[in-house]
Amino acid sequence: MMSDAPALPSETLITAIAALLADVRHVAVGASSPMPAAGAMLRQALDEQTRHVRLSILGSVAHNFFTNGSGELFDCAGQGRIDAFFLGGGQIDGQANVNLVGAGDYPQSKVRWPGSFGSAYLYFVVPRVILFREEHSPRVMVEQVDFISAPGVSPPDVYRPGGPVALLTGKALFSFDKTRPGFTLVSVHPGETLETIRDATGFDFDHPDVVPQTPAPDAATLALLRGPVLDKLQETYPAFAENWRRDLAAQTQHC
């Protein structure tokens, strides 16, 4: 029954994340990142017959394969053993610079956020960093960040096997081209257009003449999402899983 309901916006996002994770061997996600975790779990489920995708969730007991303390994630990334990671940001700009520290003048920021966490390292060494921020507004997607926690690109002499490949928001998906450097709009989510994205985005970006819509999950994918992925997610993100189930129930009633 649940599987018959059309895709929720979050399910489309999770499906987009799983697509961005094609071919990865090991994904790490932060402690409070249910959507990236769900995307990674969907990737695992999609590839189950052919290969094992490793997923490390910081702070989770069931998905914690580390035994050397909180430094092991960074060591592991430095060794090239982590293929993909997710990064958010209080501000993200058109060069893919991210700011996790604060808005306004540093250090007495007008608005102070927690801090850079591991971004100033992971952004350099993880090959496929996916920028993920649901809020897509000119306040977040700025022309230039006030503080660079981690830069989108580096000069050629800087050791940088890693970096951003995509930016996924609640409105759209962009790819990142480090040679230009800049973002290209890949697709807009249902209900959005090139114009609504332009209005919501503080930086310039490239786009195709005709902007496609972000694909919704097909029936098989939806079945995986609402079955094994949702069940697995329950362990680590019970509140998120509960909301998801509630939204599904509400939508089914509505139909």
Binding site: G59, G69, Q108, P114, G115, S116, S154
Partner: protein, 271 residues
């Protein structure tokens, strides 16, 4: 070796550099109120590698001069209100780091080395605001290859909470191994533990594997649930409601003062 929190807090001094662990790795919350009660001032906190409730409370109570950290937050309960306010008002010096740089500084101290080289960081404002970090050209590269050197972090004191200790002073830290470099790097390490066991933890190879040896431990206090409202990995979860109550109260200095003056200390548990 075995004593109580107050006698350990007696050994702390104004101006000390104190290392504390990340919220899920065993925060010795039982130290916080005695430290505030003692009126400690000008503390330089080092968060390994991020801080939370303990840091926020010590800042709110005026004990802190600087915080070296990769982040301070209350996790699910939101931003750290007293930290954020103090930064905005310039009342503390915040020394922004990134998680692996804090680990790198501790490892340098653990190894008796003056610094540790680290990839990343080039081009960040984190680096630009750290005159204490140096950039050199990697001497092993054929051409220019800038690399950042993080100086050794040597705290005066490391403080954390762990599941158990034995009577010889060995502390079981399990796979929260970041606690070991903290202790190696610090001059003195004070630990609160949920329980004291009679058997020597080093006598059995299975438990020994997760032990921080007494050699690095200067004092231990037995405080059941001493991490509360934080949890203790594998033992009890965080009390998210209590964290949220604090977060709501501490939005203002007055609210914070009132909260701290109130009774939320679980004294009944610690007695």
């Amino acid at each position: 070796m075995l004593t109580n929190v107050d006698s350990l807090v007696d050994r702390l001094r104004d101006g000390m550099r104190i290392a504390v662990p990340v919220d899920y790795a065993g925060v010795a919350m039982a130290f916080t109120r005695p430290m505030i009660a003692r009126g400690l001032r000008d503390l330089d906190l080092v968060c390994v590698p991020t801080g939370g409730l303990q840091v926020d409370q010590l800042i709110g109570a005026g004990c802190v001069r600087s915080v070296e950290t990769s982040a301070v937050s209350l996790g699910e309960a939101g931003g750290a209100p007293r930290f954020n306010a103090a930064v905005k008002e310039g009342r503390i010096r915040v020394i922004d780091a990134t998680c692996p740089a804090v680990h790198a500084g501790l490892i340098a101290a653990q190894k008796g080395s003056p610094f540790f080289p680290m990839r990343g960081l080039i081009g960040t404002d984190v680096l630009r605001n750290r005159p204490d970090w140096k950039v050199i050209d990697n001497p092993f590269a054929d051409q220019g290859d800038p690399v950042v050197l993080i100086p050794a972090i040597k705290p005066d004191v490391a403080i954390f909470h762990a599941p158990m200790a034995d009577r010889a002073g060995n502390v079981w830290i399990g796979r929260r191994r970041e606690l070991a470099p903290m202790a190696y790097a610090a001059t003195d390490t004070y630990v609160t533990v949920d329980r004291i066991v009679d058997d020597n933890l080093l006598a059995d190879e299975t438990t020994a594997a997760g032990v921080l040896p007494a050699l690095y431990v200067s004092g231990i206090a037995h405080v059941p649930q001493g991490a509360w409202p934080y949890g203790l990995w594998g033992v009890y979860p965080a009390d998210t409601d209590a964290l949220k109550r604090y977060a709501a109260a501490a939005r203002t200095q007055e609210g914070f003062d009132a909260y701290m003056a109130a009774t939320e200390t679980r004294k009944e548990v610690r007695a």
